[in-house]
């Protein structure tokens, strides 16, 4: 496993994390300050749930609202044109970011969850029949499970589940064995939000395409931690959410191959997505507008543009190297603590560290480390089947982002030790 990490460590030295931290205003604050007692410096290790925002994103959104804001695709007036330009510029930027063949493959959604609901509702209800199979993995986020269950209830489809190995790696052989003539869609995470496992996306797509099966990927974590090329993967769909990529909430992205999007009916009806409306019959626009009913998140796309500029300026390879260094270091620190169990050790995994401490419930652990200023996520991480797979009710999860430091990994380890002492665990 450590091949990638070793490389990362040596590359990591070029990355000026202190300069990066200065770009994120919230990182300067302390938490739990009360009158007469200073707080603890914030150690934010919950970026996999939602990342903090750099000044560049905050300013871009404020400036847009102060200077250029209007509704898009609706007016002939000056600001409407300006806002539309910025909105479509964001679409082009996202397309470039994913190396999509064109901006007309990019649909803006509310979040990644909505992207999967869009696929399940529009593609699923149109092209899947009773008995048809959708393949997911056991490490999916609920966002890539429940939409298929709704489709199951509506259409009688069957959900097949790819297992993971003890180290959390995607079981490619089992996956290949699940594909059959009834398989009509594969929908798999590109990087697990709990285990950090990066799945072999290209191989997953290749095996499915041999049978003519389209493949969707949940890239919510993957786009944050390294370059993604949807054409190289040959993904038919690829979804992510802006707020984990240092952008705003309320905005997601669905990439879809143009020829597939064109065959899909609308997901929601309303303004923006129509060509003509009459009570005799309504016609719809071409994708991506067909799937963007109503006023979209506009300011948020400007924020996502700024976020993409920000990570590209830092360099996605450099970010990945820095994060892998942190992951390796934090793993080492936690492993040295008696009773700590780490879930997910697959080679090349992303900087997400799920763990439990013997004799200490994750929720109690979360409360104690929080008193030390350390923010981790505790619970099921919207991945209950995966918790069951590993026989745990919940885990604690520390996730590392471009602004985290080795000192913060130390703070995590020290707070875990303090929690153990507190509980005599």
């Amino acid at each position: 496993m450590p091949d990638m990490i070793t490389t990362a460590t040596t590359m990591g030295t070029a990355f000026d994390v202190e300069a990066v931290r200065a770009d994120f205003p919230i990182l300067a604050r302390s938490v739990h300050a009360v009158k007469g007692r200073p707080g603890k410096p914030l150690v934010f290790l919950d970026s996999a749930a939602s990342a903090q925002k750099p000044r560049a994103v905050i300013d871009a959104m404020s400036r847009f609202m102060e200077e250029e804001y209007a509704n898009v695709h609706r007016g002939v007036h000056y600001l409407s044109q300006r806002a539309t330009d910025r909105f479509e510029e964001a679409r082009r930027k996202v397309a470039r970011f994913l190396n999509a063949p064109g901006d007309q493959c990019i649909v803006f959604t509310r979040n990644a969850t909505e992207a999967f609901n869009l696929i399940a509702s529009s593609y699923g209800r149109t092209f899947l029949e009773r008995g048809d199979e959708v393949v997911v993995s056991v490490m999916e986020h609920h966002a890539n499970i429940v939409p298929w269950q709704l489709l199951q209830a509506a259409k009688g489809i069957v959900i097949r589940v790819v297992p993971v190995g003890e180290d959390g790696s995607f079981d490619l052989d089992a996956y290949a064995g699940l594909l059959n003539d009834r398989t009509k869609l594969v929908s798999i995470t590109h990087c697990s939000n709990v285990l950090g496992t990066v799945t072999p996306a290209k191989e997953i797509a290749r095996l499915a395409h041999e049978r003519g099966i389209p493949v969707a990927f949940d890239g919510s974590q993957a786009v944050v931690h390294g370059p993604v090329d949807v054409q190289d993967i040959d993904a038919d769909f690829y979804a992510f959410t802006a707020h984990k990529l240092y952008g705003p909430t309320g905005l997601g992205v669905l990439y879809g191959k143009r020829e597939i999007l064109k065959r899909m009916p609308p997901y929601q009806g309303g303004g923006e997505m129509i060509q003509t409306v009459s009570f005799e019959g309504t016609t719809f626009k071409e994708p991506p507008m067909r799937f963007e009913a109503g006023t979209p998140p506009i300011t948020e796309t400007v924020g996502l543009s700024a976020a993409i500029d920000y990570v590209e300026a830092l360099g996605r390879e450099a970010i990945a190297a820095h994060e892998h260094d942190l992951l390796a270091y934090a793993t080492e620190r936690l492993q040295a603590i008696d009773g700590v169990r780490i879930y997910g050790t697959a080679p090349g995994k992303g900087p997400i560290l799920s763990f439990t401490v013997d004799g200490l419930h994750p929720h109690d652990l979360g409360t104690i480390v929080d008193q030390y200023g350390v923010a981790v996520r505790v619970g099921r991480h919207c991945a209950e089947p995966l918790m069951d797979r590993f026989g745990v009710g919940a885990t604690a999860r520390a996730s590392f982002a471009l602004y985290n430091t080795r000192a913060e990994a130390d703070a995590l380890a020290e707070s875990v030790i303090a929690a153990k002492e507190f509980f005599g665990a």
């Binding site: 419930h361 109690d364 409360t367 008193q371 209950e384 918790m387």
Partner: protein, 156 residues
């Protein structure tokens, strides 16, 4: 900082959390319900044996949870024994106020066993930790569902 934590995790809570009382499934239970806290994944089942005249003869629980939810469940099973359904209900609502509201907002939910409430006071520290209130109330919600004949309860 440690003071807040000691306030939340008092010795009694740590003790009940580690060595829960009435942690079993009584064979003669005639009421039961399952409680889920979807936020943290805690699940527990509460079992009760009610006599014909509505007295709680036995109360027990099983499941997994954090120190707060386990301790709260354990203490609940102790204080409920010998109570009527109405007394259990009044205790539940009074305890709920204790965990969620400042003292001056507590309302009268009928006569309650003062000694039991005094014992349950140790859990009032959760008020300073809003994210943990549901841990303390899960068992009680579940007990309430069991009495009402519902199969499931959630602290959501």
């Amino acid at each position: 900082m440690m003071d807040d934590l000691r306030e939340l995790y008092q010795e009694v809570i740590l003790d009940h959390g580690k060595n829960p009382r009435n942690f079993r499934h009584p064979a003669d239970a005639n009421r039961e319900a399952r409680g889920d806290n979807p936020m943290c994944g805690d699940k527990l089942s509460v079992y009760m044996t009610l006599s014909d005249d509505g007295i709680i003869q036995d109360c027990a629980f099983e499941g997994r949870g954090c120190a707060i939810s386990t301790a709260s469940a354990s203490m609940m099973t102790e204080v409920l024994r010998g109570k009527t359904e109405a007394e259990a209900q009044a205790l539940f609502e009074t305890f709920h106020d204790l965990c969620t509201k400042d003292d001056h907002l507590h309302t009268d939910h009928g006569p309650v066993d003062e000694e039991a409430m005094e014992k349950l006071m140790v859990l009032s520290g959760v008020r300073q930790f809003p994210m943990r209130v549901k841990c303390a109330t899960l068992a009680w919600h579940t007990m309430n569902a069991a009495i009402k004949g519902d199969q499931k309860a959630s602290s959501e």
